[in-house]
Point group: C2
């Protein structure tokens, strides 16, 4: 493997690199014409569950953009199906059997549910073969809170009333639910690694809805358990959350070799608070809609705030938005390399 | 005025109080049966623009709850009408003439638009008379960023693409827009004070969508200008924003006697970062749906994190949600007094 293909994995370990590695959350997706073409004949779930299609979608951005990692194409809610829940997209995700009672929780399977995701592991094997060492492949899963919040609310939520009520009023039941979710999540990630994923990211997309107290009490132990389990495989782990600026130290205390932050905090402030821990981030995805000059300045600003420290993986603060011009994404990735070349 | 009616104003100045003052954002609103009864025959805008009705709605929570302040009932978007824009609720707010071009901005009036809000000043006079010194009256306005984001997007937004594009690609035009909005905002708040408001709150409800850089460059100077103008009146100012944990020092640098924070940061961490500045907050409004025991514990946790420091106004981290049980709100306010009594 020529040295530049190792940039991402080296940065995850805090090692020196020839240029800052870059990949983008949702780098495979609706903003790309190639993806939209496939979506005309396949549902999101069909794309995610058919290994050849998931492989094709995963590779689209690797062909189109100078990114330093591929990320498995899948939906964070895939594991709820082998957990016995019906999942539908209409067009947002909907769980038709929300989990709210003692009985609902008792009925959920344990780690063995991850065995039901063989299509994902097959996709990982295919992608590794197709990538042929060009760039490393990142596997991923939703973090226990984000998955559990979908399971309890039945879909996306504005205020998370139901899941917070469960955490607050039934901490025992919440704990039982989280133990089941975390067992499946860890088994799912370990199976991705066994199939060939060279790093994994745990996405806690909605954790920023919580107070630090709620996070520490009801979430951190479970995220920590997953990250510790996956760490045993030896691949680097990225722990990503949005809206974590108020409790970044607590979030980092859950583990993860790399901490992913959104754009709501200056990268240098995040690095100061995280000590020597590698970080990933943190360009506002909306800036990819800007003109070239403004975007280049914004990319430079993120790099400048990291300064000469090792252990920076360039990324957005959240996923690429539909409608983002592909040319801007390509330029942003190229500028990361150009402006950070040692 | 007996001493306990001064709790709120004293806490805003960082002075000792007999018990921690409490009020709730959206303490007048949909969760109260009295409010819903009025809404059956009047639109939101009719309630806000008819002084007798705005007065009645403002007083409803003061009668029902042991709160230490009344807050004017109005909608933060009222000033866009005298600025020449058509406002509609369907049911969320919609601005039918979004402001996006040079011409749109040039056409906007200046501070004189605030003269068109006489109905609000009349409501303030009525409320002061009715309150008869029972508790102080807080006036309010949306902060320039929040108002401008509605004006540019045409309504609420998920990703704020348009307003961020304007800030990033046309900083000159953004600056002109913000100067117009800030002029109206300051004049509007000063007129509320002249009519009798004894404190004012500037609501920057959506400022948490920004990066610290975007905030410092495009927003802080304008919020600072408004807060400095209003400070000249001598009444205390509360500067409230959600999602500010990543740039709380920058947010506080804009001014305000009291800094309002949401629940996404521990109150003690906020106080450490804000030095001696009084703070307002920060119970998660969703916790008002919890059982009594859990809620009391959560109220105590906020008070404990403030500890013995002066200069704490108890509030939620954002507005009371529709469907919140009134009994819980009443108990929460009573517990604040009981648990903090000196």
């Amino acid at each position: 493997m020529p040295s530049e293909t190792r940039r991402f994995l080296r940065a995850c370990r805090g090692l020196p690199v020839d240029a800052t590695p870059v990949w983008f959350m949702r780098q495979a997706g609706r903003y790309m014409a190639e993806y939209r073409a496939l979506r005309r004949s396949h549902s999101i779930l069909a794309l995610a569950k058919t290994p050849a299609l998931a492989c094709e979608v995963t590779l689209q951005p690797v062909r189109a953009l100078p990114v330093d990692a591929a990320i498995l194409f899948a939906d964070i809610l895939l594991p709820v199906e082998p957990m016995g829940l019906r999942l539908r997209f209409s067009p947002g995700p909907e769980i038709l059997d929300p989990v709210r009672t003692e009985r609902d929780v008792a009925r959920l399977p344990g780690a063995e549910a991850a065995d039901g995701l063989g299509c994902v592991y097959e996709a990982v094997r295919l992608i590794r073969r197709e990538l042929a060492g060009k760039v490393p492949l990142i596997g991923f899963a939703g973090a226990p809170f984000t998955i559990a919040s979908y399971m309890v609310e039945g879909g996306p939520s504005k205020n998370y009333e139901r899941v917070k009520a469960l955490m607050t009023d039934r901490p025992d039941l919440w704990d039982r639910l989280m133990r089941k979710v975390r067992a499946v999540t860890a088994a799912y990630l370990k199976a991705q690694v066994a199939a060939g994923a060279e790093a994994v990211q745990l996405f806690d997309s909605w954790v920023g809805a919580l107070s630090p107290e709620q996070y520490r009490r009801g979430v951190r132990p479970h995220s920590a358990w997953v990250l510790a389990e996956v760490a045993k495989t030896g691949v680097p782990t990225v722990s990503f959350g949005t809206g974590t600026a108020g409790f970044l130290e607590d979030f980092a205390a859950a583990g993860g070799d790399v901490i992913g932050v959104d754009w709501r905090i200056d990268l240098d402030a995040a690095r100061r608070r995280l000590g020597k821990r590698p970080v990933q981030g943190n360009l506002d995805p909306v800036l990819l809609f800007s003109g070239r000059k403004a975007l280049k300045k914004a990319v430079k600003n993120v790099l400048d705030r990291n300064g000469k420290r090792n252990g920076h993986v360039f990324n957005l603060g959240h996923g690429i938005l539909p409608g983002t011009p592909v040319a801007r994404v390509r330029e942003a990735a190229a500028w990361v390399h150009e402006l950070s070349a040692r």
